[in-house]
Amino acid sequence: MRNLLKILYTYHFLLMFIALEVISIIMLVQNNRYHSASYAVKAKAVSGSIYSTVSDFKEYLSLKEANKALAHENAILRNYLKSNYGTFDTTKISVNDSIYKQHYRFQDAKVVNNTVNKQYNYITLNKGTKHGIKPDMAVIGPQGIVGLINGVSENFSNVLPLLNVDFRVSARLKKNNYLGSVTWEGKDFEYCTLKDIPQHVQVNKGDTVITTGYTGSFPEGIMIGTVSSSKLKDGNFLSIEVKISTVFKTLSYVSVIEDLTKEEVTKLKTETEK
């Protein structure tokens, strides 16, 4: 017994080192996966309020660009105004009735914390359960896709953005509807990778890549980016480099999308896939 204590005493530094490293690694492995940000929710309540103060200040610095982006978005939205279009004939109106059954509900939110330089980047938004935010809702920015809601506290929510190596979304080429999946390699915050496109597909620089509506609650046709280069990988599939349309570095306002039909769809799925 005395010898054991003696050994413990002699090597206490090394033993403490190993113990603390093991604790760190366990934390690392357990908490850095998709869907497990719940652990961070408590810390988020504190850091969220501090970050929102900081971001209030930072907003002033980027006011000009934010205004520009908003004005641009306004212009696009105005194009969709009803008054911009001619009157419908009666047959069309009855067909259009189904449109009034709302499919997606949009809600705006402010980015209070955001990183682009890590492998596992996260974004914090200033809306939480209080405002009806739930995990798995889609988040888009003025220029296109941003990410998925990952963890929610009362007033803040955590987004798993495209710029996180754990993120994955199904996508397709707009011009020929070929399906693939988009991931981020962790290398450059301006580019992501589109995989699983068969090699015979003709891909040109500048082709648009959009979402399919199969992942989470992303609506169909949300812009992801444009093709910048493609090369053959693993025999039959192309690995396509996509320039991300969203400028993550200057992201300040986003929309959170709720899929109103989601419950019905999942219910149907579980019933039929039994």
Binding site: I23, L28, N117, G186
Partner: protein, 168 residues
């Protein structure tokens, strides 16, 4: 002596706040991320017992982790840095050892010694941190470039802080 403890506690608090609110927002083109908070480990007195040193390192990393969503990464890197520090100090110790009245600063050991001491420990910390973050070796050289550039950046900030805190 009590004054010294308060100074260390204040330094801890100040460096963590500075890191979280200011330096985490510095991200030039994905290559340069300064992590100045390691300065806390560098400036701990020589007579700090080893067990306290490693616990303080862990606490420092853990605090940074819990506020920046990077569970375990900074803790692991800080614990490693804290573990290596005593051995490294032994290697670069002056001929007559460390006097208990001296501190690891320029006035006591000269610029050359401080550069050697800070640069190596910052490099170890950043090396561990960036490779733990990437968690694979497929982007080895890309990550290595990030390590080197960020190390130089942090190192510059550390030397500037030395001149600001301990005016000659």
């Amino acid at each position: 002596m009590i004054g010294e403890y308060i100074k260390i506690a204040l330094r801890f608090f100040f460096l963590v706040v500075l890191q979280l609110l200011v330096l985490n927002n510095v991200q030039w083109s994905g290559y340069l991320n300064p992590y100045l908070y390691v300065l806390f480990i560098l400036l701990l007195p020589f007579e700090t017992p080893n067990w306290l040193l490693i616990i303080l390192s862990f606490l420092l990393g853990f605090t940074i982790d819990s506020f920046s969503n990077t569970w375990g990464m900074h803790s692991a890197a800080c614990v490693l840095t804290g573990f290596i520090r005593p051995y490294f100090l032994k290697i670069i110790s002056p001929r007559d050892g460390y006097d208990s009245a001296t501190r690891p600063i320029i006035r006591d050991f000269g610029l050359e010694w401080v550069i050697k001491y800070s640069l190596i420990l910052i490099f170890i910390h950043h090396f561990a941190l960036f490779y733990i973050e990437v968690f694979k070796f497929s982007l080895f050289f890309h990550t290595f470039l990030r390590v080197v550039l960020s190390t130089l950046f942090t190192f510059t900030l550390v030397i500037i802080s030395h001149f600001i805190i301990y005016k000659r």
